[in-house]
């Protein structure tokens, strides 16, 4: 049976050598190497659930009066987009399960990418020849964040609309071209013409997913070409790669991870409520709710918008650069710019242009570990500031006081983190203690 299948393919395509190579492909299987795989499988779940949702969602801003199953919204004026999301949630069997699974998958997807990125940077896997894949991966992270925002914006509920208003303002704030671009995208002034919703829909379900799938394919192809990195150890050199072969163990383990990702996301989707749009109701430009928040991966942008002092650039009474530009556009450009240029920055600092296949432990290079920690703590402080209204509410801190606290923290915390991390890493390197298991 197997022999016949192998022969069938080989006689027609000459695949036997390739198959043999594939089955014996070697994976260094340190557990942290599977973070990217979690993201990959979350993407698979996103595509699968997304296709199902697209069968029911109507990307239309046409006005209707709701008469469906959810009593508190009966009689409300809303768009078809919002109504179809309600119907999908209340009247389609299994619809709410898949909608929630899709949303949880998005949240976990971006989280896994961030952890994966941290692992890459901390272990020095970003050095030559993998700088190429750092750029592709960073692009994927940016696309994932944008894709999530587009999905969050589709149902046209109150939070969608408030999020879109802010996105519109950020686009509008870009110097010179902002107004033109915003009017172009929305087909007019916010909240835009009828065409906006189908444009957003096509972007979310077609354009970005295709670009992401292509980039993921290239990302993986580059890994196959360059082979994996590995931690140093007996028998491991810069010139070889040691690990489990694909067949049989790694194939089974990777399948297990795919199933586990799907299982965890479905359990979350079935048991934990996410984005209850029926509670938020339809959006109108003139209504708003307190404590409105985006999904977590947009939190750092909201934080930057909230922390930014009321700085604008004016000339002769005319605005040149409106305030949302700094928090909403300049800050993410800076963060992603640093991520893109990190391999070059590191080369410049170390003067090391060699190819690296063996990884460092984070402690081995204290300055790098400290720099990356400082950078991420900076973004993390701004991220936390994005939820400061919920913090103020639940811990009864003054909001105004919190804004000042976070403004100071965004400068002080990265500095403290830098020096503390560098010290700790150097200490660990010297004593060879394990940070979590102090007996070794």
């Amino acid at each position: 049976m197997i022999r016949r299948a192998v022969r069938f393919l080989d006689e027609r395509l000459g695949t036997a050598p390739l198959l043999k190579k594939t089955l014996q492909y070697v994976f260094p299987d340190h557990w942290t190497f599977m973070l990217g795989e979690i993201a990959l499988y979350a993407f698979v779940v996103l595509v699968a659930t997304g296709i199902y949702l697209a069968l029911f969602f109507e990307p239309s801003l046409a006005h209707v009066t709701y008469q469906g199953d959810y009593a508190p919204l009966r009689g409300h004026e809303m768009t078809k987009a919002f109504q179809s999301t309600l119907d999908l949630s209340f009247e389609t069997k299994g619809g709410l399960l898949l909608r929630q699974t899709h949303h949880w998958a998005a949240n976990v997807f971006v989280a896994a990418i961030v952890l994966h990125l941290l692992r890459i940077l901390y272990t020095g896997a970003s050095r030559k020849p993998r700088d190429l894949n750092v750029w592709i991966g960073t692009t994927l992270l940016a696309l994932a964040v944008f894709e999530g925002y587009a999905g969050y914006s589709l149902p046209d509920d109150l939070l969608s609309g408030m999020g879109l208003a802010i996105g519109y303002s950020v686009l509008l704030s870009l110097p010179v071209v902002g107004a033109w671009l915003a009017v172009l995208v929305w087909g007019g002034q916010f909240p835009g013409k009828e065409v906006f919703e189908p444009r957003l829909f096509i972007t979310h379900v077609f354009v970005i997913p295709i670009v992401m799938a292509t980039l993921i394919a290239i990302h993986l192809a580059i890994i196959v070409r360059q082979k994996h990195t590995q931690f140093p150890g007996p028998g491991r050199t810069e010139r070889n790669v040691v690990g489990s072969t694909l067949w049989p163990s790694y194939a089974l383990r990777s399948t297990s991870l795919l199933l586990a990702v799907a299982g965890v996301l479905l359990l979350l989707g079935g048991l934990v409520q996410i984005n209850p749009i029926w509670l938020y109701g339809p959006y109108h430009t003139y209504s708003a709710t307190n404590g409105a928040q985006p999904d977590w991966y947009i939190g750092w942008l909201i934080g930057a918008l909230r922390l930014m002092p009321p700085l604008e650039i004016h000339v002769f009474g005319y605005t040149l650069v409106p305030n949302p530009f700094f928090g909403g556009a300049l800050f993410p450009l800076l963060v992603f710019g640093l991520l893109y240029s990190w391999p070059a920055i590191e080369r410049r600092i170390t003067g090391d242009h060699a190819r690296h296949e063996l990884l460092d432990r984070p402690r081995d290079v204290p300055w790098r570990t400290a720099t990356i920690s400082a950078f991420f703590s900076w973004v993390a402080v701004v991220f936390l500031a994005g939820s400061q209204d919920q913090v103020a509410l639940h811990f009864h801190f003054s909001y105004v006081g919190l804004v000042w606290f976070f403004r100071v923290a965004s400068v002080v915390v990265p500095l403290v983190v830098f020096f503390v991390t560098r010290r700790v890493a150097a200490e660990l390197k010297e004593t060879e203690l394990h940070p979590l298991r102090l007996d070794r």
């Binding site: 709410l96 087909g187 089974l252 003139y286 409106p322 305030n323």
Partner: protein
């Protein structure tokens, strides 16, 4: 039929086949019976969970039941694969040489081949310039149709439905009687006959005691009887400015202001919409109000500035 059954049994149990001879010298791997049994058990449980999902779909399509059963089916299957991958199948360690990525000699050759293609061509720089120019203009030409996505920006963004005498109405299109608004109250109003969702449409009208007013000199008469109107759309990021604080007892509480719940930009209502906290860079545009012969609120002109978020070139 009988042959199929035997075949199925063989596949399932694998007992009838004599053990295949292994190459000499390689140790025979003992099967891990307990791990195999565990895998079978997990597979059976996964089947049961998947069947339960199907049953719930027809009997009681509650999201929690559906999610728990299907999620569990996946998790059990994942556990089966995990046990099988770690314990049932052999763990084969491989060592592979890495490919040499760099080819210094070929690099030079590629450069040479490319250079060869330009041999005997004069005015290379001119060709490069002209070619680049053609490509650039071609790109611009291909992008031009994108302009049909939207109309000319400044004209669109500067439109306003407000003018002198325009009646203010509620969300349900009823005129607003000035005397009906008490001190400490906030009313959302729209220009009669206009699109309510338009950014320039919604305004907030509040009444303060006339002695609290501290408007700029050129806005005298914009707030008859202490009734003041402002654009409801935040000049920072376009959210609805709809939090209103008006102290029931002034000396012990913060003063009258409207706050945007997105980034908490705060605008004083008695001082012409001046920003007093938060990231907004421009004041909230004020709408001059008047009271018509029927005691209803009407606009007495357009806003003091452009409502909504700012852009390059908007008047401050």
């Amino acid at each position: 039929m009988k042959r199929w059954l035997i075949a199925a049994l063989v596949l399932l149990l694998g007992k009838l086949r004599p053990p295949r001879a292994l190459p000499p010298g390689r140790p025979v791997r003992e099967p891990d019976r307990r791990a195999e049994n565990l895998t079978f058990l997990l597979l059976l449980c996964a089947m049961a969970a998947a069947a339960a999902f199907i049953a719930f779909y027809f009997a009681n399509p509650d999201t929690q039941f559906l999610g728990a059963t299907l999620g569990l089916a996946f998790v059990l299957l994942a556990a089966a694969c995990l046990v099988a991958g770690k314990r049932v199948v052999p763990q084969i360690e491989g060592v592979k040489e890495r490919p040499e990525l760099e080819h210094p000699f070929e690099q030079d050759e590629v450069v040479a081949v490319i250079a060869e293609g330009g041999e005997g061509v004069s005015r290379k720089r001119f060709f490069l310039l002209a070619g680049g120019g053609a490509a650039g203009l071609m790109g611009a030409a291909l992008l031009t149709p994108a302009l049909s996505c939207g109309p000319e920006a400044n004209r669109v963004l500067s439109r306003s439905p407000w003018n002198r005498g325009r009646l203010l109405v509620t969300e349900l299109d009823e005129p607003i009687v000035a005397a009906g608004i008490v001190v400490g109250e906030l009313v959302t109003a729209f220009p009669s006959g206009a699109d309510k969702e338009d950014i320039a449409s919604p305004v907030i009208v509040v009444r303060v005691r006339p002695d609290e007013l501290d408007l700029p000199d050129d806005r005298r008469g914009w707030a008859p009887e202490g009734l003041i109107g402002y654009s409801k759309i935040c000049t920072h990021a376009g959210c609805a400015v709809s939090e209103y604080r008006y102290p029931s007892y002034g000396p012990t509480a913060p003063g009258p202001a409207v706050v945007c719940p997105c980034h908490y930009s705060t605008f004083s209502v008695t001082e012409g919409g001046k920003r007093i906290f938060g990231p907004a860079g421009r004041a909230l545009p004020q709408l001059p109000l008047a009271i018509n012969g029927d005691g209803q609120l009407v606009a007495d002109g357009d806003f003091s500035g452009r409502p909504g978020p700012g852009w390059w070139g908007v008047r401050k």
